[in-house]
């Protein structure tokens, strides 16, 4: 396979800690640009298709955590390769049949511009549907985390909330968060990166397992 063929088959995908790809899109709440979310955290997520079952459970689950996300200054923005009319019919159907109002906009990405920029279509799964992707974008428009789940497998809202909490805690306190971290748990003090700092660390008063692994309470 030559380099050129590779490009045609596999467009560049978004990368962490770089500006999330800009877009202007038709949504169920009118035309929206990525920059409209400046100052908010944005959870951009895709689903394979309207009126399909896993997607519906996910939409209801996203709607359920939306108040929690709003408390954290985070907005939701859905996407699939469906028309805005299909989106409207579907969200109205969800409200009618399941009693759940979908409070966030959904991109109608019929020209696939957003899906392509974010690498949401996996030809090995489906050439016409986006996979279950999640992009966490910070208030400055920087992409901070990505999740790609397959068509068969619904996402976990609890982990998405945990991730938002972890990223916000890291930003606010210049710390990192350990495996399985939950709000209230101790956080990680960045490791010393010179031998001098490593020696100083020993007496710094943190709770340390060794010179490089120290925790503190916030």
């Amino acid at each position: 396979m030559t380099v050129i063929e590779q490009v045609e088959a596999r467009p560049g995908l978004p990368r962490l800690n770089e500006p999330a790809p800009a877009f202007e899109a038709v949504t169920t709440h009118g035309p929206l640009q990525l920059s409209d979310y400046e100052g908010s955290w944005l959870i951009l997520f895709s689903h394979p298709a309207d009126f399909t079952p896993v997607c519906t459970t996910e939409f209801m689950a996203f709607a359920e955590i939306y108040p929690e996300l709003q408390k954290r200054g985070a907005e939701l923005l859905g996407l699939s390769i469906d028309s805005v009319y299909s989106h409207i019919a579907w969200v109205r159907n969800i409200e009618e049949k399941a009693g759940v109002k979908i409070p966030f906009p959904v991109i109608a990405d019929l020209d696939r511009k957003v899906a392509t920029a974010y690498g949401m279509v996996m030809p090995g799964e489906s050439k016409t549907e986006t996979s279950r992707c999640v992009f966490l974008i910070d208030p400055k428009g920087i992409l901070r985390a990505m999740i790609y789940y397959p068509l068969t497998t619904g996402r976990n809202m609890d982990e998405i909330l945990r991730l938002v909490d972890a990223l916000q805690t890291a930003d606010a306190n210049s710390v990192a968060t350990p495996a399985n971290w939950r709000p209230g748990d101790k956080v990680i003090v960045p490791a010393p990166n010179t031998t001098e700092l490593a020696e100083e660390r020993v007496d710094a008063g943190y709770e340390c397992t060794d010179w490089y692994l120290c925790k503190k309470s916030l």
Binding site: H29, G30, P31, L32, Q33, S35, D36, Y37, S40, E75
Partner: protein
């Protein structure tokens, strides 16, 4: 919520937003004033600028003459 309907009239949220910027203000202040999410306020202001109803001055937005007339159709 597209603020400007295909026939040029305003949706409910469009009318609320246009009325909000009778006094010049930023998008952030307009969002607070009418309790609409900031991303929808920005989108709506962009639409109303394109429709000639709102003007932008740095980071602040206000009504154009056409916007003022639309916001108070009875005149005055």
């Amino acid at each position: 919520m597209p603020c400007v309907r295909p026939d040029g009239t305003l949706s409910g949220s469009g009318r609320a937003l246009l009325e909000a910027v009778q006094a010049e203000m930023t998008a952030v202040d307009a969002a607070k004033k009418i309790g609409m999410p900031l991303h929808l306020v920005r989108s709506g202001l962009r639409e109303m600028i394109a429709a000639g109803l709102v003007r932008e001055d740095g980071e602040r937005f206000g009504q154009t003459e056409k916007g003022a007339a639309t916001a108070r159709p009875s005149g005055g």
